[in-house]
């Protein structure tokens, strides 16, 4: 038990599994390969179960904020089977292909959107020593991958042969270009404090010292604002803009294709919550409880926080959003980087 707390629950379980597989196959390469597949399975499992849990949670949180009851028919008083009913409905829906659409691009768009959101999970430190790919350029790679999400949106918008979808696609480009810059600069302060781009190092430093939310409050606020834009949720759901451009890039999708967009949206929501947790809230570090429990507590709190924002705030306008990120957030983030640099320099000098 002590060893488990020392090394982290997930890492210990993985270690035991590896030893067992090693005994079974007696081959280092084969064991490594199987372990990789188990890891991929686990990450995909996390994403899929997150989508199931979050559809339910979103409905219930939304209902709570809107003084309603929410789902209460399917699966008992609390409507626990609602996500499965939703899933069945989506699977049984007709796949409508709009006339005059670019079929290949149109079909590729939802799949490609899911790839970057799923890929990002490879770098998340779920627990001490439990990172699927702990590369030494983690933060950089993560941002590079997550910014790929702009292309599928544009593809979907372009290929749908619909003006609403096209406007949605163009808005995505404008929005993603403008919020990624302050987001990157807000993370730079953390990288400077840590001295490493490795995700596990960032958490380890926080576990040994203090959470970065205390050292980098400005960066935290900037990151949360830009993260809301990343997930396309209110107040920055301009890409979707239900009351303006209906559903934006995925206005013409239905059935399982739409479900993929939906899945990617929730994968994204969890991803930014995990990122906030990792960068600012100390990741898996915390007293008494095992690291993985702390990790999920913090991540799910952030998920709740984003849902809370979504159901309370109105939507901004596209020009307001752009001017906010270029004229306010970016200079703020740059100033934050400068202050952090001076702070680090003084600290070392002392």
């Amino acid at each position: 038990m002590n060893a488990m707390l020392e090394n982290g629950v997930v890492a210990t379980v993985a270690g035991v599994l590896r030893e067992y597989l090693m005994l079974l196959f007696g081959n280092q390469f084969l064991t490594d390969l199987i372990m990789k597949f188990i890891g991929i399975g686990a990450v995909i499992g996390v994403i899929l179960s997150a989508a199931i849990v979050f559809t339910y949670a979103e409905r219930k949180v939304c209902a709570f904020i809107q003084v309603r009851l929410g789902p209460n028919r399917v699966g008992g008083r609390f409507g626990l089977l609602q996500p499965f009913a939703d899933m069945l409905k989506l699977m049984s829906k007709e796949d409508i292909i709009p006339a005059g659409c670019d079929r290949v691009v149109w079909a590729l768009s939802p799949m490609l959107l899911f790839v970057p959101s799923a890929l990002a999970y490879a770098f998340f430190p779920f627990d001490k020593g439990a990172v699927f790919a702990d590369v030494n350029v983690g933060v950089f790679l993560l941002i590079a991958i997550s910014s790929q999400a702009v292309l599928p949106f544009l593809m979907g918008g372009y290929a749908s042969n619909s003006k609403y979808a096209m406007i949605g696609g163009m808005r995505t480009v404008a929005q993603m270009l403008s919020y990624e810059a302050p987001m990157v600069f807000s993370l730079l302060g953390i990288v400077m404090l840590t001295g490493s781009l490795k995700m596990s190092d960032i958490v380890a430093v926080q576990a040994d010292n203090v959470w970065f939310v205390l050292l980098q409050p400005v960066a935290f606020v900037i990151f949360v604002i830009t993260a809301t834009a990343e997930t396309n949720r209110t107040p920055f759901d301009l890409v979707e803009g239900e009351s303006e451009i209906v559903a934006g890039a995925f206005a013409e999708y239905s059935g399982m294709r739409w479900a993929l967009f939906f899945l990617a949206e929730y994968a994204n929501l969890l991803a930014v919550s995990i990122l906030t947790t990792t960068f600012f809230l100390g990741g898996w570090s915390g007293p008494v409880l095992p690291g993985v429990v702390w990790f999920w507590l913090k991540a799910l709190f952030m998920v709740f926080f984003f849902m809370w924002l979504r159901w309370t705030l109105p939507r901004t306008r596209i020009d307001q959003m752009l001017s906010l990120s270029w004229k306010v957030l970016l200079p703020l983030a740059l100033a934050n980087v400068m202050c952090t640099g001076i702070g680090v320099y003084i600290y070392r000098w002392l």
Partner: protein, 365 residues
């Protein structure tokens, strides 16, 4: 040099924020609106013609279907026109009840406005809160006439039946809640930075423009012109009550919101005074069953929730009107949509539309 072109975006008739079946033809340059043309007629039911095919008394329920969010006001307007034409004296108690109903319905209608404006701004939670409070008014109407929509309560010559004994108490209870929920709306919406930035300075109309478009109701009051038919004409028993006419300053969407928001409180004031001064007596005038007004014509206007609601009726001396024309405020206010959208963004067009607060049942008639 690449050439860019403007393009046409058809908003509606199936669109989540066109409040029914309006279609707006937007000419766009990227996201900027160059021209907005409202296209109407998707909900046309020929109510004017239907009214001409029925007797005067039978026509009342059709007016319910005009502006179905504030049916009481429509009943009121039509009945006043018929009474003026036929020279019917309405009992005082009936007049008081009518005013109570009309003002309660105004509150309900403005709640719908606030809710749908918030919804169009992407804050769908706002809608649930206003609809929750509107439910209390609907319960009051339910108590009075058994219907929650299309009431057919105000009739030619008075009202359908007297108020139930528990009405006054329940109504007072609701009126006591008015400051509570208006404070809640103010707290949830008006203090919000995004909400303010989306509304302030957007879709501005000068008083001259508003007059040129013949706008009425809260829309013209938002530009600073205190034109309220309840004050100007002083019809029914309105002159006996003290109330203010809220006006805006800039004529932007923020002022349109503010004017309606403050009107809720003023309407509650009127209802309270009417309840206090409610006289005893009959609630229905005596007039022949088959009403045959003398030959002639009448134009009678009342302050509907959306503006000047006018009924023009021509009688040829028979039991049915020869011609009925309805001056629907929503329809006429809609003309300003182009001026309100031009030069703003797509996101603003939805808000401009919501701020005019048209009801498609009334626009298409």
């Amino acid at each position: 040099m690449p050439q860019t072109e403007t393009y046409i975006l058809n908003m509606g008739p199936q669109h989540p924020s066109t409040h029914g079946v309006l279609r707006v033809n937007l000419e766009l340059d990227g996201e900027r609106i160059l021209r907005a043309t409202p296209m109407m007629g998707y909900l046309h039911r020929g109510i004017e013609k239907l009214l001409e095919a029925r007797t005067y008394v039978q026509g009342v329920p059709y007016t319910d279907r005009l502006d179905y969010v504030s049916s009481m006001n429509n009943n009121f307007g039509y009945c006043r026109a018929v009474e003026e034409l036929a020279g019917i004296e309405v009992p005082e108690r009936a007049e008081y009840i009518r005013v109570i109903m009309a003002e309660l319905n105004r509150i309900a209608s403005h709640q719908v406005f606030i809710g749908s404006l918030a919804n169009d701004l992407g804050a769908s939670t706002g809608m649930l809160y206003t609809f929750r409070d509107r439910e209390e008014i609907l319960d009051l109407f339910d108590l009075v006439c058994g219907a929650r929509m299309t009431f057919h309560y105000i009739r030619v010559g008075g009202v359908a039946r007297d108020l139930p004994p528990e009405f006054a108490e329940k109504c007072r209870k609701f009126l006591d809640r008015v400051p509570e929920f208006t404070a809640e709306y103010a707290n949830l919406l008006m203090g919000n930075e995004i909400f303010q930035r989306r509304l302030k300075g957007v879709s501005r109309l000068t008083p001259e423009q508003a007059l040129a478009h013949n706008m009425t109701g809260p829309n013209i009051r938002a530009t600073g012109i205190p034109f309220d038919i309840r004050k100007v004409d002083g019809y029914s028993v309105y002159p006996r009550f003290g109330f203010e006419v809220p006006v805006g300053e800039n004529g932007d969407n923020w002022d349109r919101f503010q004017v309606r928001f403050r009107e809720i409180t003023e309407s509650a004031r009127i209802v309270r005074q009417a309840l206090d001064g409610l006289p005893e007596g009959p609630v229905m005038a005596k007039f022949p069953k088959m009403l045959k007004p003398p030959q002639g014509e009448v134009f009678s206007r009342t302050e509907g929730t959306r503006g000047e609601l006018g009924f023009y009726i021509v009688s040829d001396g028979t039991a049915k009107p020869y011609r009925v024309h309805i001056r629907r405020p929503s329809f006429i206010n809609m003309q300003a949509l182009d001026d309100m959208c031009r030069g703003y963004l797509i996101g603003d067009s939805v808000v401009a539309f919501s701020a005019i607060d048209p009801l498609m049942g009334e626009v298409d008639c």
